[in-house]
Amino acid sequence: MSDLDTFRQETRAWLEDNCPQAMRKPMKGDTDFCWGGRNYVFQSDDQKVWLDRMAARGWTVPSWPKEYGGGGLSKEEAKILAAEMRRIGARPPLLSFGIWMLGPALLEFGTHEQKLHYLPPIARGEIRWCQGYSEPNAGSDLASLATKGEDKGDHFLVNGQKVWTSYADQADWIFCLVRTEPEASKHEGISFLLFDMETEGVSTKPIKLISGNSPFCETFFDNVKVPKENIVGERGKGWTIAKYLLTHERAMIGDQGVPTPLNVIAKEKLGLADGQMEDKALRTDVARHEIDAAAFMFTMERATDEAKAGASLGAFSSMLKYAGTEINKDRHEMILKVMGSDALEWEGQFSNNGEVARHWLRTKANSIEGGTSEVMLNIISKRILNLPS
């Protein structure tokens, strides 16, 4: 038996023994996610047990090195772990911007000390991070950043405002783009700083969205002192890290996982007559959507396989972000068509407090956050098609 087979057997047995039954049920909404952090209130004992057990093995971040709190698994092993978790329907023990965003950035650009300091608390779900990129006058245009960090010898004095900081009101630390070299050109002069949200001078204000939810904040910095060692990478080169992470984020936003097929929702809602959906126009539109959606999923698969084969994704991730978010928006417009007026209920048991409508509205931001569709098309046009500017 190969090592991988052994690994699979052992993993399966361990999961069987250690994953609480309650953690094997599908998550119903945002409140079932485990985000961790200093102030996180676990929804259940099972949720905490599951996080602690997984974190102890480093399996909240299976492929990070062991010394930084990870599982040290090879790609093949990580794939087996994911498959075995899927097999029993195990929930992810922890979701966080630390895992998705800051972790990869630190692993690529951080010093050994920074990795040792910051990564293990992320892996254990002890510190929750938020991202401070966008500003009121620099949405898609990060080069116009105005938040400044004045050099005060051993620290930067940070002043300015961020917007669209996800869950900033619940986060412990922020990774943040700050202009530290006022003389440098637009893209130069930005540094990538880390600091505690409890530092004096930091305040947040939730933004209510059209979905009725408030996953984002405005975040204000008023003479916030940030020690100089809290800089990641070179001073003034934060743009490089931001770009790296945006590419990373785009590939991730494009990849929304495999949602319930539209036709399943349609069949459940409308039933079939003689083996076919009765509303033929809707049937055609569902099929047209599913063809586009499946072809896009194959493209995600191809991109992954090409990356494995050594190809560099580069600007291709912008295409994935563009196409993936547009298809997801279309999917939710289709769900509205499938469900009719029922989809528009906003409150009440029947509609699970308007989940369908709120989710539909939430998807409208897909093609805005992490670089708008228009910015993605600009990138494709310039970097892939080499069209002149």
Binding site: G139, W164, L209, D342, W346, L361, E374
Partner: protein, 378 residues
Amino acid sequence: MALVLNEEQQLLKESADGFFAEKAPVSQLRKLRDDRDETGYSKELWSEMAEMGFAGLLMSEDEGGVDFGAIGAGIVAESMGKNLSASPFFASAIVGASLIKHAGSTAQKEAILPAIASGEVIVTLAVDETGHHGPASTTLKAVKSSDSYVLNGMKTFVPDAHVADKIIVVARTAGEKGDAEGLSLFIIDKGQSGLIIDQTVMADSRNWGKVTLEDVIVSEDAVLGTVGEAFPVLDKALDVGRCVLSAELLGISQEVLDRTVQYLQERKQFGTLIGTFQGLQHRAAHLYSEVEILRSAVLKALQAVDAGTNPAWFASLAKAKACKVAELATNEAIQMHGGIGMTDEFEIGFFIKRARAVQNLYGGYNYHTDRFASLSGY
């Protein structure tokens, strides 16, 4: 008839635009929502609308109205679409009034039409039973028992249900689900025993309700029109409604286009006005073109109603086109506004939510495309 507004209609348009912009802008709807207002509309506004004659546009002077016809109704609905003004206008003054006018006995007309026109009485129609429109799919039963009827069943997506004084209920007195034959209309008064109204909070923050009838007993006087033969008159009133809803969608589309264009003229990004980006310019220009084309379809349909011919083909054409354009317009508006369009503080979100509700009411894009094809003979 020339496909333009005449002078009188032009004046009505100016007066309606001014009235709603001043008296019932989006902020009024926001306040009703945030206050969780029990009635869901401003009674004061509704009185003023009635004084302006807006509740009696479809009625003749004899019936207490101002006789502006469907074109007048469309003009007012377009203004209300631009401002998202909440009122029982559509339920009562358009659909309720049309049904009474076309199906009512002399006694019913005399009793109800002037009361609708004066705003004293609010009437609404309860037709659909699922999330998808389909009058012929009615299953709510009315069973005759000596000289009365017993009604049992459920209706959903009923506009202004919980504030209506009278609900016109579409019931099946014969036949099976799917049959156009065998439908009858009953006027049920508020407070009637067995009539249960559940207000539904929907995305557009307007008045909607579910109506349940549990052994509701009414006399023969409650019948509107001929028993078992309601479908043609119902469909005709629905067509008037569909044309007016198309006008509301036109108003919404025009307004979000105008707001988006203004935003493009003012917002800077990458150091330049985003309105200079040709990618956005072309999309805005395409949207302009679609809105103008919709405007023609809506006016044509409203004229067909007033001309007294069967407006079905024009109504389905207008509603289908309106659904398509409103969906494009609201989606483009959100996207071109970027992040700010996603915030509740900004008003664009109110428009997209209202648009989808109006798109769905009395049949969406696919429903009317299918009906258009059938009416065109294929």
